[in-house]
Amino acid sequence: MIGENSMTKQKKSRFKAQEERLGYLLIAPAFLLIAVVILYPVVYNIWLSFHKVSLNPKRPDIFIAFENYTALLSDPKFWDSLQVTLIYTVITVAGATLVGLGAALLLNKAFKGRALARTVILLPYVAPVISLVFVWQYMFNPVYGIVNVTLVDKLGWLGERVDWLDSATPALILVIIFDIWRLFPFSFMMILAKIQSIDTSLYEAAEMDGAGGWRKFWHITLPELQFVIGSLVILRFIWNFYKFDEIYLLTKQVPVVSVYAYETAFTTFDHGLAAAITATLFVLVMVFVLTAVRKVLKW
């Protein structure tokens, strides 16, 4: 057996070099993949955004400098979509986080069937979007959907049937409720895990000092959750800012930026303009990340 002490300096440094080489070797496949599928496309996207992109791959793309950007910035549809995206993102992020926090506090209490409740609640997050979208469209069908039938016919809370899928404001409300319902389980899961790791002696000490439930929550639980909630809000903000699938599949009446980019690229086939849209999104998110992430997550 070779002990630490008998190792010569030379051997040690050779070992270190070997370890370094192995380190690079093992991370190389992941790094290469990320470089090809993320880093290069992000740069290539910026390049594309300065070109009129030919649909025929054999024809060259034509450099048009800032034309795509001037077209984009003077298009009212772009500004509208940005506004809708912001409304959607702010409400869904706040909603999913708050509901997730509430559910986590609730399911942290002791009761029969708790383990089952905790698992069942994750269903919307796990199931494929496509499955969920169909049943929501059915439930929100204006004529025979259970939502209109209940709210209009049975409870009378709404005077007339709402066209949830095909008119702008109800459709926006629909996609917001859908997203909160689908993603609060993720916030729930992360927040619950953190709550469970809080040192119980903190609560015991507070109880000795006569603190009630609300004060314990405000002075112990919430500060402990600050980091996880901050991370959730930032990540969810970025993801929902790009959100495409569930919105596009549920309704064609909510023109968020990603839908605008998708349709520009694959309905009107203007890939240069679509690249300009996503490059602009990239810059917006970059600014957000560099400020918010640094401040809150202290990277």
Binding site: M1, A30, V37, P41, V135, Q196, A261, V285
Partner: protein, 280 residues
């Protein structure tokens, strides 16, 4: 008085829990109920949640290759998800071990870079990836999807595996190296067997993301024989001939595999995403 308060508190607690759980799973109950209803009942305003008369015709229709290409889509989804998950586990294990145990210049920057990349996926990559995939001759192939899914799940794979590897005592690995194992053998003989829960979790997480993904599949796949379930179903049902029962049956059959898989590793998943290691 005190006991009254307790009873009241319990009552409130159970009410709130019931409300939360019912709201969460209500659409799934509708899905199941409608899948078992006849067409007339599904379109009726006065129908209840549960069918008066249970029919299995929608499940039969969906699974009948003459009527519905469910099995083609299922096969494509399965192959794509399975291969992606397998590669993710191999590449993820290598990368995560490198991050967790080996020291080299630039490691910290790499690690942060990987997490930052998580923020630049989705619609941002749409146009360039489409262009690249077309230029590389990979348009309408499963390989294009596999590579894409592999990368968009890479940050979480590396993170979860890395967290788990760090919970394995380093002294154990050092001792076996002194006993003459090299690093590869340490990974293969010590780390991997101990990390099975984390590996299973990552496998299922990646499988689930690949199984559920819609955006890239809708852009990179065009022929029916290569479609995965999400795009296959969305195209089939896009024409507004509402056969709700059939849609719900297909939705359920698409959701069940990933829901069951996830249920198996749920507790590890929760642990793996947070402070590292699972707490049961």
């Amino acid at each position: 008085m005190v006991t009254n308060n307790r009873v009241l508190n319990r009552a409130i607690l159970y009410t709130l829990v019931t409300l939360t759980v019912v709201t969460t799973i209500f659409p799934f109950l509708v899905m199941l109920g409608t899948a078992l209803k006849t067409n007339e009942e599904a379109l009726s305003v006065s129908a209840g949640l549960w069918p008066k008369q249970i029919t299995l015709e929608h499940f039969r229709d969906v699974l009948d290759p003459e009527k519905f290409p469910y099995w083609t889509y299922f096969k494509n989804s399965f192959i794509t998800s399975y291969v992606t998950a397998l590669l993710a586990v191999v590449i993820g294990t290598m990368g995560a071990y490198s991050f967790a145990r080996l020291e080299y210049p630039g490691r910290g920057a790499f690690q942060k870079g990987v997490m930052l990349i998580y923020m630049f996926s989705g619609v941002l990559l749409l146009v360039p990836l489409y262009q690249m995939v077309t230029a590389a001759g990979l348009y309408d192939t499963k390989l294009a999807l596999i590579i894409t899914y592999l990368v968009i799940t890479m940050p979480v794979s590396l993170y979860m595996l890395g967290n788990y590897f760090r919970t394995i005592p380093e002294s154990l690995e050092e001792a076996s190296m002194i006993d003459g194992l090299n690093r590869f053998q340490v990974i293969y003989k010590i780390v991997l067997p101990l990390s099975m829960p984390a590996i299973a979790t990552v496998f299922i997480y990646v499988f689930m993301i690949a199984w559920n993904e819609y955006l890239f599949a809708s852009v990179l796949i065009t022929s029916e024989e290569n479609m995965t379930l999400p795009i296959g179903l969305s195209r089939l049902f896009y024409t507004k001939h509402y056969v709700w029962g059939r849609m719900m049956a297909a939705s359920l059959l698409t959701a069940i595999p990933v829901v069951l898989m996830f249920a198996l590793v749920e507790r590890y998943f929760r642990g793996g995403l947070t402070d590292g290691g699972e707490k049961g």
